[in-house]
């Protein structure tokens, strides 16, 4: 029974490929590496350099040692922006993950109508963040928006003008936009789970809910880690959507780190402190990615196929 369900052990690769692995293959990585160095590493070094300077973007670059760093680290605005960023990260993860898993599991079924729904769910992902933000801004306008147009009192809130509501709207729109993407990842993950495990569980008399919690969820462990890493690290760089939707407002209620960086660099002409924030962003992102890998990859040797 299980023979045709479990992936068959791959046969030994033909000798030709094995030889190629030693000679040509590393060279295939060179273009990607060159692009990564050119557009990833070199700008990063540039930003690191800029963070030790004062520059208004126009005149000469002045070396200023740690001045920019002290200015940034001593500013209560940085702590606030970090806090908002962490809140956005946590809230958007907490909202997106359960919904994405449920939709992903649902879409993993092979029924025709589910395939159709999968296409519909996918649509938000096709829209650019700026377009999404402009559309929501228009819909949520307290005077000319959806609520005012349909005379629905509940919808006629000051959505983007109250700090808590504005924050919630940001989380909602982010989730609306990215849940389709994560559902897709989970759909793929669920389809990888061997049928035999469910069959065995059914023989043991497990119901739908039991199967979900005892098989689907544990089997999705690595998918959850992948998707969470993308969500968490991705939420560090939310900029376009928030910039268009609230511009960090009201006051500074939705001013995340990336927005703070932009405002300092390009609106206040303080490239030094803005670069310092950029470096902080990179460090936080790396730390989070490493942490998530640790959380998931601790027992890489452990079997994922128990009971299969």
């Amino acid at each position: 029974m299980s023979a045709f369900a479990t992936p068959a052990r791959r046969g030994t690769p033909p000798a030709a490929t094995r030889e190629a692995r030693g000679g040509v293959l590393p060279w295939l990585a060179v273009p990607a590496l060159a692009i990564f160095v050119a557009f990833g590493v070199i700008p990063l070094v540039g930003v690191l350099f800029l963070s030790f300077t004062s520059w208004d973007g126009l005149g000469d670059i002045q070396m200023s040692g740690l001045t920019s760093w002290w200015a940034v680290l001593g500013d209560p605005g940085l702590l606030h922006a970090l806090w908002v960023t962490l809140l956005v990260m946590a809230a958007s993860w907490a909202v997106q993950t359960p919904i994405s898993i449920l939709i992903g599991v649902f879409l993993a079924g092979h029924q025709r109508y589910r395939a159709l729904l999968a296409v519909l769910y996918f649509i938000p992902l096709l829209l650019s963040s700026a377009a999404v933000a402009i559309a929501y801004k228009a819909l949520l306008d307290p005077n000319f928006g959806l609520g005012a147009g349909l005379h629905i009192g509940l919808l006629t809130q000051d959505w983007l003008g109250e700090p808590f509501l504005a924050f919630s709207v940001v989380i909602f729109v982010v989730s609306w936009q990215f849940i389709p993407f994560h559902s897709l990842i989970y759909q793929g993950g669920v389809r990888q789970i061997p049928r035999s495990m469910y069959e065995a569980a059914e023989l043991d008399g497990a119901g739908r809910v039991r199967k979900f919690f005892s098989i689907t969820l544990p089997q999705l462990k690595y998918t959850i880690i992948t998707s969470s890493t993308l969500m968490v690290v991705g939420s560090l760089t939310f900029f376009d959507l928030i910039f268009v939707l609230t511009a960090g407002g009201p006051g500074d209620a939705t001013r995340v780190l990336a927005l703070d960086m932009y405002k300092r660099g390009f609106q206040a002409n303080l490239m030094g402190p803005a670069s310092a924030i950029a470096v902080i962003l990179v460090l936080v992102g790396l730390a989070l990615a490493l942490l998530l890998r640790r959380l998931g990859g601790g027992d890489a040797g452990a079997s994922q196929m128990e009971g299969a």
Binding site: D141, N143, G249
Partner: protein, 448 residues
């Protein structure tokens, strides 16, 4: 610590030149001299380049001015590029920093122009204006303030003067049965009456922040006179602690607390003209806004302007205030500078454009036809035939009678200080900081 200054170009070469150089190994190194063919100047060899703002009707006037100039000067033409307002502000800064500025740099003068001057990116036009006194004498003297940095003129004033005006909807005032305010006390008395009628007293596009700032500009001026902000501008220590400043900030928060502004004002942007729509659709009774909104309200507001339902006045005095009620604030003009990186040829073309193309008689007529007042002495003679003659005369009167025509704060200050100011103003309107906190936050960045 001894500050060392690696040149900007070295850095730009480091950050951009290496990957580009690797990709296009065949291209030789480019020297620092601005050459044609995609070099500094951002355009062709003997053509001057000029970036200006989109949005009709102003865009059309700018485009036609360039077209007229090009027709008259087949040997030295100008290539125009149209950009959107907010995108322009960032793009021009980046372009100038990278040595890729257009020949003619359009701007608002003041603090931003000062940063260009300090970086040595724009030409000193003082001697050119001395040689071409006729060009200078045609224009409103007040328009040169924001073009003058440390006694030298770095920009040619152009286009129109745009004082901030208190607009009101006459239909709504009739409906509620009240008269336009003549003092700050009247304003505060009107607020509960409009609220009781279910109409917002004031429209405000608060997310744009500079819209909120206009309120403080007038309150500071009416209560303490133009000297209060001048002290800030001059970088005097603790200038924001002036008693008039504290009074103005408190009055402003009183108005916010009394629901003086439309519900949800902090999520409305001025870029979408939603604040104007609130006024002409009768959802709000009054609006403090720039003179340029008259043109857009006449095109978007149906018969609101043409039917005579739009009222306008200068900001009323505040009881016991020291400021002259004839004073105004806003944009005393727009400004054209010449990039130092342009070739000698391009600079010549730009100067010829300044002398013969900018604010030509045709352009003056076109501005007047769009409800705007060009910064040309005696421009009022062109108003009689214009369809918006009353408004034009009103604006011309404000501008020519004002004892002080102060430049908008965010334009007058350096971009760094302006950002802190706008940020704190947004929080002040949000009631998340007290006037006292505003004062201490702002005192901390004076002179930066």
């Amino acid at each position: 610590m001894e500050p060392t200054t690696p040149s900007r170009r070295t850095f730009l070469t480091l950050s951009m030149g290496i990957p580009l150089g690797a990709a296009l190994a065949a291209c030789g190194t480019s020297g620092p001299t601005p050459a044609g063919g995609g070099g500094a100047g951002g355009g062709g060899g003997n053509k001057a380049t000029y970036w200006y703002l989109a949005v009709q009707p102003q865009e059309g006037v700018r485009t036609r001015a360039v077209e007229r100039f090009n027709k008259a000067n087949p040997n030295g033409q100008i290539t125009g590029t149209i950009l959107q307002n907010d995108a322009y502000k960032t793009k021009i800064k980046t372009a100038i920093g990278a040595g890729q500025a257009p020949t003619i740099i359009w701007g608002w003068g003041g603090g931003t122009l000062r940063t260009y001057v300090q970086a040595g990116q724009v030409e000193d036009l003082t001697s050119w204006f001395a040689q071409n006194a006729a060009v200078k004498d045609r224009l409103f003297p007040s328009s040169f303030g924001a073009a003058t940095i440390d006694g030298k003129i770095y920009a040619m004033p152009c286009e129109t003067m745009q004082p901030i005006v208190l607009y009101y909807n006459k239909k709504i005032f009739d409906q509620v049965g009240v008269r336009p305010p003549e003092s700050w006390g009247d304003i505060m008395a009107l607020v509960p009456k409009f609220n009781a009628a279910g109409i917002a007293p004031f429209s405000l596009g608060g997310q744009s922040r500079w819209t909120n700032m206009m309120w403080l500009e007038f309150l500071f001026d009416r209560i303490g006179g133009p000297e209060v902000f001048q002290a800030v501008f001059d970088g005097k220590k603790d200038a924001w602690s002036h008693p008039a400043a504290l009074d103005a900030l408190t009055k402003l928060q009183d108005l916010v607390k009394a629901d003086g502004f439309i519900k949800g004002f902090s999520s409305i942007t001025a870029d979408s003209n939603a604040d104007q729509a609130l006024l002409y659709t009768g959802k709000a009774a009054m609006m403090l806004h720039g003179g340029w909104t008259y043109g857009s309200m006449s095109t978007d507001g149906g018969d609101f302007v043409s039917g005579g339902h739009l009222g306008y006045m200068n900001f009323p005095p505040v009881e016991g205030g020291k400021g002259d009620p004839s004073n105004t604030v806003g944009n005393p003009g727009q400004y054209l500078s010449i990039s130092s990186n342009a070739t000698a040829e391009q600079k010549e073309i730009a100067k010829r454009f300044f002398a013969t193309g900018v604010l030509s008689d045709e352009e003056v007529k076109e501005w007047a036809g769009n409800g705007a007042v060009p910064i040309v002495n005696g421009a009022d003679s062109a108003f009689a035939s214009a369809k918006d003659a009353d408004f034009l005369k009103f604006v011309y009167g404000i501008a020519s009678n004002a004892k002080s025509f102060a430049q908008s704060w965010d334009q007058a200050l350096s971009p760094t200080a302006a950002e802190v100011l706008l940020d704190n103003i947004a929080k002040l309107f949000q009631l998340s900081i007290t006037p006292q906190q505003f004062v201490s936050n702002m005192n901390a960045v004076i002179g930066s």
